[in-house]
């Protein structure tokens, strides 16, 4: 989109980083909604939390939207203000971004209305898939103007959605299911990483750094892992790009395949979400797949698996791979090899996860410090609107995935990395299914 190179986070001060602003915006919303609730202004919050009910006739949806005609404008105004402030500080062109976000917002309203149609819902074409499809069709057939492209920031929106997800996921659930999610994720991630790495290096003769980057993309957390591990082991730029292509191709395929398979196999929502969290390759794509299940429990178990079980540990993987890189792959002893500091763990840690944990902890503390009646009211009047706002952040994510996935640009790779990555898919998907639906099924079924 831009002729300028992308700003490298390490070279930016903390207040100009995307993660920082995703945390600010989402935690700001949580704080604003909570404050409004305790000041007795919950109605003001619900004004911006636009929802579209399931409808079967145009008259019924029009009537539903007329109940709160200010809602679309309020929703737009809240996020436009937040995103414009973020753009100004991060250094994006505010005017172009605002114009692009306006168009993206209109698309999100349209796909949400369409995705709430009873007939389309019966065909499983709910908002997440519709947003993806609309974006993909237009993104691959129409030349999108640059000012519109500037608002297509998948990572930014998904991070805001994940932090808001924290506010709707009690910290007690994270503590209870977290260790299990870590165990399941570790089993699958290690198996998949080793499978891809060995296939890449032993079967297909690829460079070990390339193999590790492919393995990370297929096992830890998709593109983010390919970037983090590719950096940690000093993989070539072209190798990181190929690994990213692999992740995107498989992630997009899995957005459609995993929910269809889950329905065909009759999986309950909890294990289905955990399977998607284990076997989908990217956060944003995984949220699309989990949301397609159409049950909040699937989104919760997906988040536990993906964010808590997998994403959190990318820094540890980076440290291990960095050490392997300067010793084993460079054929040097630890004493003579370049130093690798433990700071690598923090440097590669996805910081938005801190926002997710803080949001969860804050809402859990609020709920624990009020009586049951107020707690129930808080869940309805504060957490409810936050879920709605989270839904909008994810809809912009899914539209952005669709608009920015250019299939023509994903075909520049050889058959060997594709084959190595596919070996990982053949390990990851069945193993994730077995662990989610057999070994740990009772845990995932217990998540409400």
């Amino acid at each position: 989109m831009s002729d300028q190179p992308t700003a490298i986070p390490a070279a930016l001060p903390w207040h100009r980083r995307e993660d920082t602003w995703a945390i600010f915006i989402a935690l700001g919303l949580v704080a604003a909604v909570t404050t409004a609730f305790f000041l007795g202004a919950a109605r003001a919050v619900s004004t911006a939390a636009l929802t579209v009910p399931t409808w079967s006739t145009v008259a019924s949806v029009a009537a539903a939207l007329r109940v709160n005609p200010v809602a679309p404008l309020a929703l737009f105004a809240v996020f436009l203000a937040a995103f414009s402030a973020a753009s100004a500080v991060i250094g994006w062109d505010v005017a172009k971004y605002a114009a692009g976000f306006g168009v993206l917002f209109v698309f999100s309203i349209l796909v949400t209305i369409l995705g709430s149609n009873q007939l389309l819902k019966q065909w499983q074409l709910e908002t997440p898939l519709l947003a993806l499809l609309v974006g993909m069709v237009l993104g691959n057939t129409v030349a999108l103007p640059r000012w519109f492209q500037s608002a297509l920031r998948t990572e930014f929106y998904v991070k805001i959605g994940i932090v808001l997800m924290g506010a709707t996921l009690p910290f007690t659930i994270i503590l209870q299911a977290g260790p299990l999610a870590v165990l399941q994720a570790t089993l699958v991630a290690v198996s998949t990483f080793v499978a891809i790495y060995l296939a890449a290096t032993r079967l297909f003769g690829l460079d070990p750094r390339f193999g590790a980057t492919l393995g990370a993309g297929g096992s830890i957390c998709g593109v983010s892992a390919a970037i983090a591990i590719g950096g940690a082991c000093r993989a070539e730029k072209s190798h990181v790009s190929v690994a990213i292509s692999m992740v995107i191709l498989w992630a997009v395929a899995m957005i459609f395949a995993l929910p269809v398979a889950a329905r065909y196999l009759g999986l309950p929502a909890g294990p289905a979400g955990a399977w998607i969290g284990t076997s989908e390759f990217a956060d944003a794509a995984g949220f699309a797949a989990a949301a397609t299940i159409g049950d909040e429990r699937a989104v919760k178990t997906f988040t536990l698996m993906k964010v808590v079980g997998r994403d959190m540990f990318v820094g540890v993987w980076a440290l291990v791979v960095a050490f392997l890189s300067v010793t084993v792959w460079e054929k040097k002893s630890a004493a003579e090899a370049e130093r690798v500091g433990a700071g690598e763990i923090w440097r590669r840690f996805p910081k938005f996860i801190l926002g997710f944990l803080v949001a969860s902890l804050a809402v859990t503390v609020v709920l624990a410090s009020v009586d049951a009646r107020i707690g129930t009211q808080f869940s309805k009047d504060a957490i409810g609107p936050l879920k709605t706002l989270r839904g909008w952040a994810f809809t912009w994510t899914f539209l952005s995935i669709g608009f920015t996935t250019r299939f023509r640009e994903l075909t520049r790779f050889g058959w060997r990395p594709l084959a190595a990555f596919t070996v990982g898919v053949l390990v990851n998907v069945p193993l994730g299914y077995w662990l989610s639906t057999q070994v740990f099924a009772s845990y995932w079924l217990a998540v409400k």
């Binding site: 831009s2 490298i8 390490a10 990572e155 970037i227 990181v240 292509s245 995107i248 370049e338 920015t404």
Partner: protein
């Protein structure tokens, strides 16, 4: 699909810190001095190329640290 930053840091207590900095500057790195270290950044030179160049000039692995950071270009999932 990605842009990169190759950053090489050298502890100022290393006897050959200035020589490493000069070598990196010759290869197009922008070099700055911080309190306890020299920091050389490049968004052009790849990390392994820079390391090979330093080793070829006779510097040893433990005299410097290489950090490589990739970042998605716009639109990458």
């Amino acid at each position: 699909m990605v842009d990169h930053l190759t950053r090489i840091t050298v502890d100022l207590r290393e006897p050959r810190a200035e020589a490493i900095a000069r070598t990196l500057a010759e290869r197009g790195f922008s070099v700055r001095r911080e309190r306890r270290r020299l920091v050389a950044d490049s968004t052009v030179v790849e990390a392994q190329d820079a390391k090979r160049a330093l080793l070829a000039r006779g510097f040893r692995d433990r005299e410097f640290q290489v950090q490589l950071e990739y970042v998605r270009q716009w639109g990458v999932l």
